[in-house]
């Protein structure tokens, strides 16, 4: 019987050849265009902040841009639904379920390999943003400083970075769960609808507290008067997103184990 590491290795070998993964790398265009725009003093780049940008805030701002451009969540959802639902549809999953009868192991290996891919992409994206900041943005002394981090904002930036990463992981888990009982494209569309609904709910006074988008929005606003308040909002957000991620994974494994392929 093959161990989990081998199943993970198989999934990883498949993932690195997937088109969705390549599509993720277009994310780099965001910091690249922004930093080039700033460097050449393009009129498209409008800097509104009272305080100057520094490296850490630039990296996190680029992550926020990526989040606002919903498309990368859509790609993450496609990544997940094609990984499982796509293989169920084209029947290639049968090659593995017959050799690895423990379906939960296959499901978990798919999840962990996608988590690893997403985390690697976010780290890569952050490093590229950092490099671009020092290469291009720093030339604009009117908007940028050499400073790497600011102590008073460090925790908030860290929470935003971790929060956005967790959101991607949830998108993977939730979409993959949907693809255990829906066609991959239907699962992706349903994910998009639900994501939009949660984003809207975050704007409704009574309902906003059940939406992860509300808490992440609060973290991004950076209007906290104390680190206690900031940490409290972060912990609520993380708890909410973790509960939904774990629930999605459990339901997904249960459905995948039970379904006829």
């Amino acid at each position: 019987m093959v161990n989990f590491h081998t199943v993970y290795k198989i999934e990883w070998k498949k993932i690195i050849k997937r088109r969705e993964l390549i599509a993720f790398f277009t994310m780099i265009a965001i910091p690249l265009l922004y930093s080039l725009g700033a460097y050449f003093e393009s009129s498209i780049i409008v800097f509104n902040s009272d305080e100057k940008e520094y490296a850490g805030s630039f990296v996190v701002n680029m992550l926020i841009f990526g989040k606002m451009l919903f498309i990368y969540f859509l790609i993450a959802a496609l990544f997940a639904t094609k990984s499982l639902g796509g293989e169920i549809e084209n029947r290639s999953i049968l090659l593995y379920t017959q050799r690895i009868p423990n379906r939960a192991k296959i499901y978990r290996a798919k999840l962990i390999s996608m988590y690893s891919a997403i985390i690697s992409i976010i780290i890569f994206y952050s490093i590229i943003s950092l490099i671009l900041y020092y290469v291009f943005v720093l030339h604009r002394e009117d908007i940028a400083t050499k400073q790497f981090l600011r102590a008073d904002e460090f925790l908030n930036l860290l929470y935003i970075g971790v929060g956005i990463t967790f959101l991607y992981l949830f998108v993977i888990s939730f979409s993959m769960m949907l693809s255990t009982f829906l066609k991959s494209n239907t699962a992706t569309i349903l994910f998009c609808l639900l994501f939009i609904i949660f984003t809207f709910i975050a704007e409704f006074p009574g309902l906003k507290y059940i939406s992860f988008e509300y808490y992440l929005g609060e973290l991004i606003e950076m209007n906290f008067t104390s680190s206690f308040e900031l940490t409290k909002v972060f912990l609520i957000y993380v708890t909410l997103i973790l509960v939904m991620t774990i629930a999605s994974n459990r339901i997904g494994i249960h459905l995948f184990k039970r379904r006829d392929l």
Binding site: V2, I10, K14, L94, T97, Q98, R99, R258
Partner: protein
């Protein structure tokens, strides 16, 4: 007994009819079983039950005396080709490599050798670096067979392995099936729509109709040519023929020609000529 099906029944959630209804049979090592039946008769469902792709509604399958549903790891001893499926963004060699990893093989040299071996068997060794998405249907079918042949399995389950193959390809696969069963003692279950293809290769034929097994026996082509002659010519005699009342029963078509020539030469009036086929042939033609 290597494999034993005991009242296997499958009802899909989306349906109320039985896709497989109390199917029972035994399969020995070295035996080639031909599974035939029209579309939707339950052939693929049976194969999917055996490979744990679908869950049984009731019944049991035993492999080497162990209940397969309670010992799912045993399924990895089966080589399977059901609806040839691939990771189409990988090449032939990469597809096989992933499967070998899933089989627990980790030595790179061993993996390469095994890939070469199975690709040679199916005549695809020169296409190992080609992407599967560029393969023709027949080539995909061959690659599917290569997947099933990986690592010398004791049982081969082949769902329509001849579909899409040209004459040479069909002969190659049929010879391979016979060799694997007779020389290496593998049990092989293979399905096809064409009885003529199946009967050449199989020791036993199972015919399924609407999920129910209606024939499970050694194939004996009981085809008989019956020539009914005029009663006044009862003295007619010929070698290797059987005489029943006013009928002459002939087994081989060549003999029929000889008998007919003699009858005509002797000026005996022919009342009727009939072909009496085996019960399986009758079933098959009834489709």
């Amino acid at each position: 007994m290597l494999l034993k099906f005991n009242n296997v029944t499958k009802i899909y959630k989306s349906s109320t009819t039985k896709a497989l209804d109390n199917f029972s049979t035994n399969i020995r090592s070295g035996e080639v079983i031909g599974l035939i039946g029209k579309n939707g008769s339950g052939k693929t469902t049976l194969m999917n039950c055996l490979t744990n792709n679908i869950h049984l509604t009731s019944g049991e399958i035993f492999y080497k005396g162990k209940n397969l549903m309670e010992n799912k790891d045993e399924i990895s001893e089966f080589g399977v080709l059901i609806e040839s499926a691939f990771v189409d963004y990988l090449n032939a060699s990469q597809n096989l490599e992933l499967l070998l990893l899933a089989e627990g093989l980790s030595d790179t040299k061993e993996i390469k050798e095994e890939i070469e071996r199975v690709l040679s068997l199916v005549g695809l060794v020169n296409r190992k670096h080609d992407y599967v998405k560029n393969f023709s249907f027949g080539m995909k079918q061959r690659l599917g067979l290569a997947q099933a042949l990986l690592r010398d399995k004791r049982v081969l389950i082949l769902d329509e392995p001849l579909v899409g193959l040209d004459v040479i390809g069909r002969k190659l696969v049929k010879d391979l099936i016979v060799n694997l069963a007779k020389k290496e003692g593998k049990a092989i279950i293979f399905s096809d729509h064409n009885l003529n293809e199946v009967k050449d290769v199989c020791d036993r034929i199972i015919y399924i109709e609407d999920g129910i097994k209606v024939f499970d026996d050694v194939f004996d082509d009981n085809k008989r040519y019956i020539v009914q002659i005029d009663e006044s010519s009862m003295t007619f005699e010929s070698e290797n023929t059987q005489r029943i009342d006013d009928c002459i029963v002939v087994k081989e078509k060549e003999q029929l020609n000889e008998v007919m020539t003699k009858i005509v030469q002797q000026g005996i009036p022919i009342i009727d000529i009939k072909v009496n086929e085996s019960s399986l042939m009758e079933l098959f033609k009834g489709e």
